[in-house]
């Protein structure tokens, strides 16, 4: 067992996969010097310039080159520094990469990974560097989506993504990069599409992803002091989605709260809520609650940012209101 930060876990997973499979190559801005978030540190030195390529500021060329190389049989991992920048190569990400296997009738495979820093997390990055954009990706059939919540998940999901024969976007949370954890020593891969119950509970299911996993765990601790036992599910991937894990939990708890950093207008939480409303309707004894990032562009000043970010108090209040409302309406 080694203690790794989330950012070290990413570099370690990249190193493991690069050592294992010489088709794995990296590209991105500043990746040769370790990247601005130090997630590729040491890889150029270890694997040489033919495996780690610095690019110009050309996100379309980065994503497109990854796509072409994947078509030719490599397994590229492209860093898109901040996930907000997917917007500058959205055509490659949404219109080309996820569609080419299908539209060629299966002539091509697309074993590539796009990865980078996502989310707010109270760091003051603002509306053009602090968005949580899993929702953008989830709008598009044909691309898998992973959002690790811990260093061990960052390692295991990235390794799995690299081994997957389909395109995967890994959304790393920039506020988690310095979080530390014991990580398994030897080859550690977490299959895509399997959620984890990270805390069991009987009163209510909290569905979380990435940074909201920690928020929900902290909220569950606090709720426990109020006599509420919340079950926390870490989805780990949105596509494939482990809907069965959510439905099974709701069957046990009968109440569902979805906690996402995506904005409320349309985020992945809506998809979970809709699935529950359709498939767990007869299990539910209370309204499905969504707690989302504020539906505004992310502000920078700490006082404003704290107001719109998802937070432990908001989750606690949401769950307590739900259970209170429930008592009222059933009582």
């Amino acid at each position: 067992m080694a203690e790794l930060t989330y950012r070290q876990a990413i570099a370690a997973a990249l190193a493991q996969e690069m050592a294992r499979d010489e088709r794995v190559v990296l590209l991105g801005e500043d990746v040769a010097s370790g990247g601005v978030f130090k997630t590729t540190t040491g890889l150029r030195e270890r694997f040489g310039p033919d495996r780690v390529w610095n690019t110009p500021i050309s996100e379309q060329a980065i994503a497109g080159a990854a796509m072409g190389a994947a078509m030719a049989g490599l397994r590229p991992v492209a860093e898109i520094m901040f996930s907000d920048f997917y917007a500058t190569c959205w055509d490659q990400v949404a219109n080309e990469i996820p569609k080419v296997r299908y539209m060629t009738g299966g002539q091509l495979s697309m074993p590539l990974v796009l990865r980078g820093a996502n989310g707010s997390g109270g760091l003051g990055f603002g509306s053009q560097h602090g968005q949580s954009v899993e929702n953008w990706a989830m709008c598009v059939p044909g691309i898998k989506i992973a959002s690790p919540a811990t260093p061990a998940e960052a390692f295991g999901l990235l390794a799995a993504a690299i081994r997957d024969n389909d395109p995967v976007i890994v959304f790393e949370h920039k506020a988690l990069y310095s979080r530390k954890e014991q990580c398994p020593d030897d080859e550690h891969v977490i299959p895509l599409g399997r959620a984890a119950v990270v805390r069991p509970g009987r009163d209510c299911t909290l569905v979380a992803l990435s940074i909201t996993v920690g928020i929900c765990l902290a909220a569950a601790d606090e709720l426990a002091t109020h006599g509420i036992e919340a079950e926390v599910i870490d989805l780990r991937t949105l596509v494939p989605l482990d809907a069965a894990a959510v439905l099974a939990s709701v069957a046990r708890t009968s109440r569902l709260v979805v906690v996402e950093e995506n904005p409320g207008q349309l985020g992945w939480g809506a998809s979970i809520a809709a699935i529950a409303a359709q498939e767990a309707f007869y299990d539910l004894t209370a309204p499905v609650i969504r707690i989302s990032g504020g539906n505004v562009p992310l502000p920078v000043a700490a006082s404003l940012e704290a107001e719109v970010d998802v937070s432990v108090p908001r989750v606690v209040a949401g769950v307590r209101a739900l259970l209170g409302q429930l008592r009222q309406s059933t009582g």
Binding site: V25, A61, G64, A69, M71, A72, L108
Partner: protein
């Protein structure tokens, strides 16, 4: 690196827009023993596209169709200098490029007609014809998108030292989009073995290219911005295309990096099969019809002594072949609806959740 210069200019060129001093209507006298074969290949493309046009007008093709009528010399000339394992990649105007690499015409036609056996299983249609087996890595319908992808194909070859070259075809209008800039730039910075071929037919849909570029030539006048040579070729002269693209391919294969070639040509019909092309002055169209690449090669072959009957026979065979093929394809059923749900993922399926 420095490639062979453009083919000779007649200095005058057709008056009006697009004026193009580089494309004469002179016969293309064959200097190459392969010319009769090149003619036959062009003739087949011509017959294929005319067939597609006619089927479209009969309402038998679902979705848009963009024909390569008039562009045959580029597709055939370029394909003739590629190695079997080289990559090529093109646009929605891509039938010709797929066929030129050896994609089976019947499977392409089945794709257009929405019948079982389509080369993309009915999922791509005319705009996405692909035959990776023949090195043609696809047709892309969003302008400019495939130029970065071409870089990736070439990058893989560079990393693996396979000496494979990637040829990437696109239009004059595509040179205005950001993806063009990022791709040509990256190719130059990374010295990728890719040959970018701009098929300048002087129009982006209904708009003359001169109205929307600040330079005279959309690709050639931008090459220097990427440290590349200014290369122009008469795209209606199959031998010139062969020479100029051949030299760029050799340079790429030899590790000398990318080229950007501007090939001058003209659409014989509208932007898509649904477009009559009424915005183009009749005399301009007429002048370019005289520069039809098939006509010019034919004239050259006749001058060189080939009998007209032999050429007519080539043309006739191509047309007959396509008529028979159409019947066979139309006799096929539509793709099984259940196959709409295959091929999203590598596991063959489409499921995104359990």
């Amino acid at each position: 690196m420095s490639h062979e210069a453009a083919s000779a200019s007649d200095g005058a060129g057709p008056p009006g827009v697009p004026s193009d001093p580089d494309v004469p209507s002179d016969p293309d006298v064959p200097s190459d023993p392969d010319v009769p074969d090149l003619y036959a290949r062009m003739s087949y493309l011509r017959a294929f596209e005319e067939r597609a046009d006619s089927l479209y007008r009969q309402g038998m093709i679902h979705g848009p169709v963009h024909l390569g009528l008039g562009h045959e010399a580029i597709a055939i000339g370029a394909a003739s200098v590629l190695r079997h394992d080289d990559y090529s990649i093109g646009t929605y105007r891509g039938h010709a490029h797929a066929l030129a690499r050896g994609a089976p015409p019947e499977a392409v036609l089945a794709e257009l007609l929405g019948r079982a056996g389509g080369i993309c299983a009915g999922k791509g249609g005319s705009m996405h014809i692909t035959s990776t087996e023949h090195g043609y890595y696809g047709s892309y319908a969003i302008v400019g998108a495939h130029l970065p992808i071409a870089c990736g194909l070439a990058w893989a070859a560079r990393i693996r030292h396979t000496s494979q070259v990637t040829a990437c075809f696109f239009g004059d209008g595509a040179t205005n989009i950001g993806a063009f800039h990022e791709a040509v730039n990256l190719a130059a910075v990374w010295r990728l073995p890719v040959v970018f071929v701009c098929e300048n037919n002087w129009y982006m849909e209904y708009t003359p290219i001169a109205d929307v570029i600040p330079v005279a030539l959309p690709a050639a006048d931008r090459a220097a911005a990427y440290g590349l040579d200014r290369i122009i070729v008469d795209g209606n002269d199959v031998q010139a295309v062969r020479r100029v693209v051949g030299s760029a391919v050799a340079a790429a294969r030899g590790g000398q990096g990318p080229s950007l070639i501007e090939a001058h040509t003209y659409r014989l019909k509208g932007h898509s099969a649904a477009d009559g092309g009424a915005y183009r002055p009749a005399d301009e169209v007429a002048r370019w019809r005289e520069r039809d690449p098939l006509l010019r090669t034919r004239k050259g072959l006749l001058q060189a002594g080939l009998p007209a009957a032999a050429l007519d026979e080539i043309d006739r065979q191509a047309r007959d072949d396509l008529i028979a093929m159409t019947e066979r394809v139309l006799a096929q059923p539509a793709p099984d609806p259940a196959t709409a749900w295959t091929d999203v993922w590598d596991d063959g399926g489409w499921q995104w959740r359990n």
